[in-house]
Symmetry: C2
Subunit: 476 residues, 2 copies
């Protein structure tokens, strides 16, 4: 078991590694590191360390293993499952990666960028763009989330359909192990079959096996053609049928296929400045379709036109608009990105981040809707997301006029209800946000004992002292 309190002497030993300016001990300085944006978790910590070198990270972890001190690695702290904040009732030390934010190398010929774990995602995107390349990972929080966090949570976002998630976008890692040893796995190879896949074990481990301090990321050609359309439809089933046609027709040129309900469009036009409904009349469902082509701009245009006219002809699409400029394309994506923030002014929102096989989305949503409406009459279901990945952010806004806290108090009950239906469709209770503290006990309940046991064996093998982000993913 790790220590429950930290002695002044031990605090001083940790502080000496990074220097006093980078060891935060005042409550006011520490406060921002303790909470997440959704406000579900309020941790405590006696100490925030902000190392400036990989060796300092190594020294911190070596001392932590020696003294059995719990360490919580933290990137941009944009997570939603309590994975990057310290626990309540413990004395976890926060290890902030923010000062490790150097781009180490940009190689447009080798199509890689090598970055410190603390680099902000938007900075990496910008560096890629500066050499005429694309780093495709794209999320709502890209202006503040860090690549080490993106890796540790195997982040997804809006470009997974064509480019894959973080696991597919990474060639190599540098990881500081709980013991303070440094694993230099910063390889730039497309093919390398030399032993166990340690890289993918650290990716998605939510900082429980080590601290990712550097990564080799894949770059791609910037597309020459880019079209974004917004289509109104009458049902989720029609959206699925349209997706299947889009996928067959466009292959990997289909770079986004995002589902949105009428309620979400109402929320964004009501609350997000500058967002307006691009279609003349209301529709029950909408999809944002993004097509990118590498060979010529005309290919994207031709694909989009053919897809929409096929959709209209088949009666799947009721109405559609194709963005005519980069500004309009951004506006359509901005509406999609605003789905989550636009729920905030509508009161409490109970969230889910689930996935099912793509073909099961309509049935899953119909069944979940019925169950939720039976449990909370008047609930306003605003489920949207990455339809092409089978990943729905199944969010539920409180009934109009209901008591916010009383609604939010039913979070776990409703999660349980919705996740039960997810499991019926052989889905995942966390498609892209991870486990953290939020879904830890639920994971253990829904997975076979052997799978949980294998995870615990890996945890013990890598972190014998149990200091790395304890209580996240697995029980401490």
């Amino acid at each position: 078991m790790v220590q429950a309190t930290l002695s002044p002497d031990l605090i001083a030993r940790f502080a000496a590694i990074v220097g006093p300016a980078h060891a935060l001990v005042d409550d006011g300085d520490i406060a921002p590191y303790l909470i997440e944006s959704r406000g579900l978790y309020h941790g405590v910590s006696p100490l925030v360390l902000r190392p400036g070198t990989v060796q300092e990270v190594a020294d911190i972890l070596a001392l932590a293993t020696e003294t059995r001190t719990a360490i919580v690695p933290q990137g941009g702290n944009t997570g939603h499952v309590g994975g990057s904040v310290p626990r309540e009732g413990a004395a976890d030390v926060v290890l902030s990666l923010s000062r490790l934010n150097r781009i180490r190398d940009v190689d447009p010929v080798g199509d890689v960028i090598v970055a410190d774990g603390g680099c902000v995602l938007a900075d990496i995107q910008a560096q890629a763009e500066a050499v005429g390349r694309l780093f495709p990972l794209s999320l709502g929080s890209e202006g503040s989330c860090q690549i080490g966090g993106n890796l540790s949570t195997n982040a997804g976002g809006t470009a997974v359909l064509a480019y894959g998630g973080m696991r597919q976008l990474c060639l190599g890692l540098e990881v500081v192990l709980p013991t303070g040893e440094i694993w230099n796995g910063l390889r730039r190879l497309k093919k390398d079959n030399t032993g166990y896949d340690l890289r993918d074990l650290f990716i998605g481990a939510e900082g429980t096996l080590g601290v990712i301090t550097g990564a080799v990321l894949k770059l791609f050609p910037r597309p020459l053609g880019h079209e974004v359309a917004f289509a109104g439809l009458k049902s989720v089933k029609d959206a699925l049928a349209l997706f299947e046609r889009a996928s067959s027709r466009c292959g990997t040129a289909l770079t986004g296929f995002e589902l949105m309900p009428r309620l979400g469009v109402d929320f964004t036009t009501r609350h997000i400045p500058g967002v307006r409904d691009p279609l003349a009349t209301a529709h029950d469902w909408y999809v944002l379709i993004d097509i990118s082509t590498s060979d010529a701009a005309e290919t994207a245009t031709r694909m989009m036109e053919a897809l929409l006219s096929e959709g209209l002809e088949a009666g799947l699409v009721e109405d559609a608009v194709v963005a005519a400029s980069e500004e309009q394309r951004k506006a359509l994506w901005h509406m999609r990105e605003s789905m989550s923030p636009a729920q905030k002014p509508e009161g409490g929102s109970i969230k889910h981040d689930v996935s099912v096989p793509v073909s099961a989305i309509p049935d899953f949503m119909a069944e979940a809707d019925a169950a939720v409406m039976a449990a909370i009459p008047g609930a306003r279901i605003c489920s949207f997301g990455h339809m092409g990945d089978g990943n729905i952010h199944y969010n539920i806004s409180q009934p109009v006029g209901a008591d916010k806290q009383a609604f939010l108090d039913r979070w776990r009950e409703i999660n349980h209800l919705v996740h039960g239906i997810v499991l019926k469709y052989h889905g995942s209770i966390s498609a892209e946000h991870g486990i953290g503290q939020l879904k830890r006990d639920e994971l253990a309940a829904v997975r076979e004992p052997i799978e949980m046991d294998l995870m615990r064996r890996v945890k013990r093998a890598f972190d014998p002292a149990g200091i790395m982000n304890p209580g996240k993913v697995l029980k401490a």
Copy 2:
């Protein structure tokens, strides 16, 4: 340590699990399971077991762990590194997956196929084709290799450029653990962030962590457009420049970019019936370019024409031919696939399966060529392969008239020489064939101790009795 001999009683206990008809004990019956096609390894075994159900596999492994009996899982036995054959001087039991060859489900809407580990790759390709889909993994041995072996070795092949290797083509696994427990991880989800990535740990582990008995594989739309060209060039550097243009222009529509030397074309036209040089004059180097497009046949045609005319104009391409029929496309690919077998009639061949960053290929090859020619004057270097993946099969045929065995006796010396240059370019000593026995000691020598230590920790955590394919990848 595992047992060095097997008692008749223990053999009888193993045989009882599968029934006498499927427990081979006669030397003649066992012989085919002991050797690889390249003939580098000649193992011994007292027993070959051919289970017919997953539960039988589980019972075999449980008994093996109980009695500390070494088990060698074997698929189609088409490997090149001694990974799937029993060791010399031991009493390894061979566990053949061949009878576990059922296609469990084909779902063209969900774009997955679920198959037993012992299914032959070509059968899976055919099942996908029967429902209008593509399973893109493609290798020379596809007529006999099995999907469980493809997964255990993270197989690559000729379609990695656009579709990725086996790791990218698999959504879920069923694995029997060394203890006999069965992990059902047969998920069909595109996104699933629920804990450690056990799947990718078993993929590429070469049967040292468990036995893959089932898998969920991804299917893709069959391309509508397909063009294959064969171009003559004057240098590897020009081939690289052409690849960069092809990659930018075609993106993921570039489904193959294979490099071949003049010597390889000579060997194939000389020894492989029906292969002829499609170009009028000789060139020092050749590339096979494969472009597939999902939207329309014309897109592939247009891309190929534009690429070749750009290449001719820039002086990168000396001459080129585009296949005019499916038959011609197959003939060009047949020449490429024949590169390795065509070396056999030329005497001994020392092989390498290496990768370097794509941009380093010309420098790596120039340096390796010089070193090899200095070491073995008259050696005939026939290096070819997946240029777009940075993966070169750097093969060396013996000098004309040299003694074959004397040449082959220098295998390890030459491996060491070439791998030293690979490492200088931060490459991999095994791009796609794996480690097995062949490169086990070399791996331990070239990797940092911490990396080897982490692999050993994983091995101990999953296989405490050390029964799973001992002596492969890691020392027993």
